[in-house]
């Protein structure tokens, strides 16, 4: 078995776990989780019971319920709402992992209905058997459109899915795992899917049509047979290089530094001997010392937004999150390409500004009016209020010190009576903004 973290499991560790395995704590949740200890805490995330959605119901800018299939951007809000309100944060986080792993974009699929259907598939199979998940994804309508599966026929094979199946989903490129010939043979094995077109609904009636399938003998990874689409997926999962690809890729969603070769071996063993089951591997990663003792991770934009709303106990009450998430580099249902989002490049001068705007939008409903609010003329007290406002996140000493220094200096500028009265509220607003967008809250 891979090593298990044996250090203190207090609020900082519980907070980190809630961010890595979900969307951060609601106020007080990290303290509560810490009391369960590491094993209890991880178990509560991997075995959460029936789903409940807690908190205010989502609505659009006009107070109307969301229409995820019909209204532009509501598909994203629908999902973001689940991230904010779910009682099964890991299940929702795994859905985000699979959305990135099997990155399918509405840009190519042209149907909210099919995108949400695929999203539900990730939710249903997210912690189960990877073989089942892959089989389901291979015949998933959104994927069949996205990677040309229904264009791939006996008479004109299309390599799109066959290539990405191996390169991005199961084996990895440049590892000697497959050849260009395997790509072509996989494409042949995957032939047979088709759909019809309905002018009102779009693509419909996805089905397997043996007449469009190439039933000849194929050679894949040196094996010969009359392989079909099921064999395509199966051969990839059984490939000698698949377990190492799988555990390394899965690990990278939870821990930013690569696993040691011993850990990698142990995770592979766990994966193979569980019959390619996802849950035990995730559990082992969530208990691994590297998660608690290693460096922080940059929060993906959707996690950052959902986490702010959870901390503020705020529901989805505006459509602004769609364009703000897009500015921050993560438009849900629109990964940039089939390789998903690049986790090493979340932060630059453009996306940092988007995160600043996200923080502004998140705190805005509670903005203090400087001519009404009367706050203490005391830097420490103001900072402590701002921390409580944002759910009392654990802060580094440096950030804490700089925020306090800012508040002290700004209080020192108040050289007139009206300023002495009004500046504390302005400073409190600024502290919330600076704290919510600080390096500490961009990472976890």
């Amino acid at each position: 078995m891979p090593p298990v973290y044996r250090g203190r499991f207090g609020k900082p560790q519980a907070e980190r776990l809630l961010w890595r395995a979900g969307f951060g704590p609601r106020p007080g949740q990290a303290e509560k989780l810490a009391k369960l200890g590491l094993h209890g805490a991880v178990h509560s995330l991997t075995h959460p019971g029936r789903e409940r959605l807690r908190g205010p119901k989502p609505h659009d800018d006009h107070g109307h319920p969301l229409a995820p299939y019909d209204a532009w951007g509501h598909d994203q809000l629908w999902w973001l709402d689940r991230m904010v309100r779910t009682s099964r944060p890991l299940g929702e986080r795994m859905t985000l992992v699979w959305h990135d792993w099997f990155a399918t974009s509405r840009d190519g699929v042209d149907s909210a209905r099919l995108m949400i259907r695929q999203n539900q598939l990730f939710r249903t199979h997210g912690l189960g058997s990877f073989g089942t998940l892959l089989t389901e994804v291979t015949k998933d309508p959104a994927m069949l459109i996205w990677l040309s599966g229904t264009d791939n026929t006996k008479d004109s094979p299309n390599e799109n899915y066959g290539r990405e199946l191996m390169e991005l989903f199961t084996i990895g490129a440049d590892r000697g795992g497959y050849t260009e010939r395997d790509v072509r043979e996989q494409a042949r094995a995957l032939t047979g899917w088709r759909n019809d077109w309905n002018d009102n609904v779009g693509p419909v009636n996805f089905r397997y049509d043996p007449r469009r399938h190439d039933d000849g003998v194929k050679t894949i990874f040196g094996k010969h047979g009359r392989f079909t689409w099921r064999d395509s997926a199966r051969l990839c999962v059984q490939h000698r290089l698949h377990p190492s690809f799988f555990v390394t890729k899965l690990w990278s969603y939870f821990v930013p530094t690569p696993p040691s070769s011993a850990t990698k071996r142990e995770l592979q063993h766990l994966y193979t001997h569980s019959g390619h089951s996802v849950r035990p591997v995730v559990e082992a990663i969530l208990k691994h010392p590297a998660l608690y003792e290693g460096p922080r991770m940059v929060k993906p934009p959707a996690v950052y937004v959902a986490g702010l709303l959870r901390a503020l106990r705020r529901g989805i009450d505006t459509e602004d999150w769609t364009w703000l998430l897009s500015l921050a580099g993560q438009q849900l249902f629109y990964p940039p390409n089939v390789a998903g989002w690049d986790d090493t490049r979340w932060l630059d001068t453009s996306t940092f500004r988007a995160r600043w705007m996200i923080a502004s939008r998140a705190i805005e409903p509670h903005v203090l009016k400087s001519d009404k609010a009367r706050l203490p003329d005391d830097a420490s007290k103001l900072l402590s209020r701002a921390e409580t406002f944002l759910g009392s996140p654990v802060l580094t000493g440096h950030t804490h010190g700089e925020l306090k220094r800012f508040a002290r200096r700004a209080l020192g500028d108040a050289n007139a009576k009206w300023k002495k009265e009004q500046y504390p509220a302005l400073i409190e607003n600024a502290l919330r903004q600076l704290l919510a967008s600080s390096p500490d809250l961009q990472t976890c």
Partner: protein, 454 residues
């Protein structure tokens, strides 16, 4: 990736992207009753300038004290050459961009997709080839001697993965593990530590070719909307809040906390550099295509930034359109090339009108070409050699590497490369940017340098 058969979604997605940009650019309301236009990022002078309808006149040399010292110093030096990289995402079909319309073998490989000789203008350097009809703007510029065409650019042992092949082009080597971009490494050698604008990604995210390891580079969607507003914060407190960004961006020992701190510090620096642009906008001397896409606006903003003497050296952005045309190729390709080519023509005319044309060279590229034989779903699969263009008044304007023809395809049925992208980079570094390519491109000595600059 695949193009769908029905393209409504694509244009709607572009619309949303544009809306996002517009929404991000809206200036927040000014708090009532305050002495300064707080919350807008404007100082009084910029505010007055905007009110007066002045656009770029405030960027005269005498106003450079508005900029941070580093940028002022960089901007005060002699005008430097600028290299612009435009990426066509997805692998653009070389056999449509410049197509051998008279070749029977081509028509046989492309029974549905082949373009007719009458569709596009004949390519004057090789009468076998014709410009894709949507590339008429390029044909026009080529006629003026401002376009060097690379009809089959690539590398040996071509990789048909989007990600691997694009990675090779971005890092300037066929090395899977090289993490810095080729322009980023150039800036590491010649750039400064206080001028993020030297490497500018005109995008919502950093373009990988600009990824540097030592010097800062910047990324922004539009030069005139880069401000930091917070609800309920104005006046002295706002100034203090923005001052706090620098210490919050101080170096941290945790590598990823430090990454976030670094983004904070760079954003703060860029905020100060662009302060004169914010809220005032910019004008253009020529019309750009009026389309639902940010690309023409990005180019117009780029020309304005160059006219304002901002010290840009390397710029990278992504062209509009989707070139991974496994299906529905005719429409998808025509749409993307059309906006791309018309925008780049407008950009060139803009630079010429502003007297900046001799300072800017633009490289247009894609990660690979496509399979010579069409695939039966009105599309083409991944190929090898692709097309690239070098555009500018200083471009030599002569073809680099011959068109290899479709009679002699490689074992995978793809066009063979007749020029190497790494040689192109070496030429651009040496002939245009004045840098020894050996310091930037691994194995530079082994690549032949085509003459790209006159």
């Amino acid at each position: 990736m695949s193009r769908c058969h029905h393209c409504d979604e694509f244009s709607r997605a572009s619309l949303v992207r544009r809306t996002a940009a517009e929404a991000g650019r809206g200036l927040p309301a000014i708090e009532p009753g305050m002495p300064l236009p707080a919350g807008t990022g404007l100082d009084r002078r910029a505010f007055v300038a905007r009110s007066a309808g002045l656009v770029l006149s405030i960027y005269g040399a005498g106003k450079l004290k508005l900029f941070e010292e580093g940028i002022a110093r960089a901007a005060g030096g002699p005008a430097q050459p600028v290299l612009v990289s435009v990426f066509l995402p997805g692998g653009t079909d070389a056999l449509s961009v410049l197509y051998p319309g008279l070749d029977g073998a081509y028509r046989k490989l492309r029974p549905k997709l082949a373009l007719n000789p009458g569709d596009g203008t004949q390519f004057s350097e090789d009468p076998r080839l014709f410009w894709h009809p949507s590339l008429q703007p390029f044909a026009t510029l080529h006629g003026e001697g401002k376009v060097s065409v690379l009809p089959a650019v690539g590398y040996t042992h071509p990789d048909q993965s989007h990600f691997t092949s694009r990675h090779f082009w971005e890092v300037g080597a066929t090395e899977a593990r090289l993490a810095s971009g080729w322009m980023g490494r150039y800036l590491d050698h010649t750039g400064t530590k206080d001028n993020p604008l030297q490497g500018l990604s005109l995008d919502y995210q950093l373009q990988p070719s600009l990824a540097s390891t030592k010097v800062p580079v910047a990324s922004l969607a539009a030069p005139d909307d880069y401000s930091f507003w917070a609800p309920g914060v104005w006046g002295d407190v706002e100034d203090r809040m923005l001052e706090a960004l620098e210490p919050l961006g101080a170096r941290r020992s945790d590598p990823f906390l430090n990454q976030a701190a670094n983004a904070t510090a760079q954003s703060d620096r860029l905020r100060r550099q662009l302060a004169p642009f914010v809220g005032t906008g910019y004008g253009t001397p020529v019309p750009y295509p009026d389309v639902d896409d940010s690309f023409p606006k990005q180019l117009a903003g780029l020309a304005a930034m160059l006219a304002a003497n901002l010290p840009l050296r390397c710029v990278a952005l992504t062209a509009p359109g989707e070139y991974d045309t496994h299906s529905d190729q005719p429409q998808a390709l025509a749409d993307g090339l059309d906006v791309t080519a018309r925008s780049l023509l407008a950009f060139q005319r803009d630079l010429e009108a502003r007297g900046l044309a001799d300072r800017v060279l633009t490289l247009v590229w894609s990660e690979f070409g496509r399979r010579a034989e069409e695939n039966g779903s009105d599309g083409t699969d991944h190929g090898a050699a692709g097309t690239a263009f070098v555009i500018g008044t200083r471009a030599r304007g002569e073809m680099v590497g011959e068109f290899p023809g479709v009679a002699n395809l490689d074992d995978d049925g793809n066009l063979r490369a007749t020029s190497d992208f790494r040689g192109v980079y070496c030429s651009l570094l040496e002939q245009w940017l004045g840098e020894d390519a050996a310091a930037v491109i691994p194995g530079a000595s082994s690549f032949q340098r085509p003459v790209l600059v006159k």
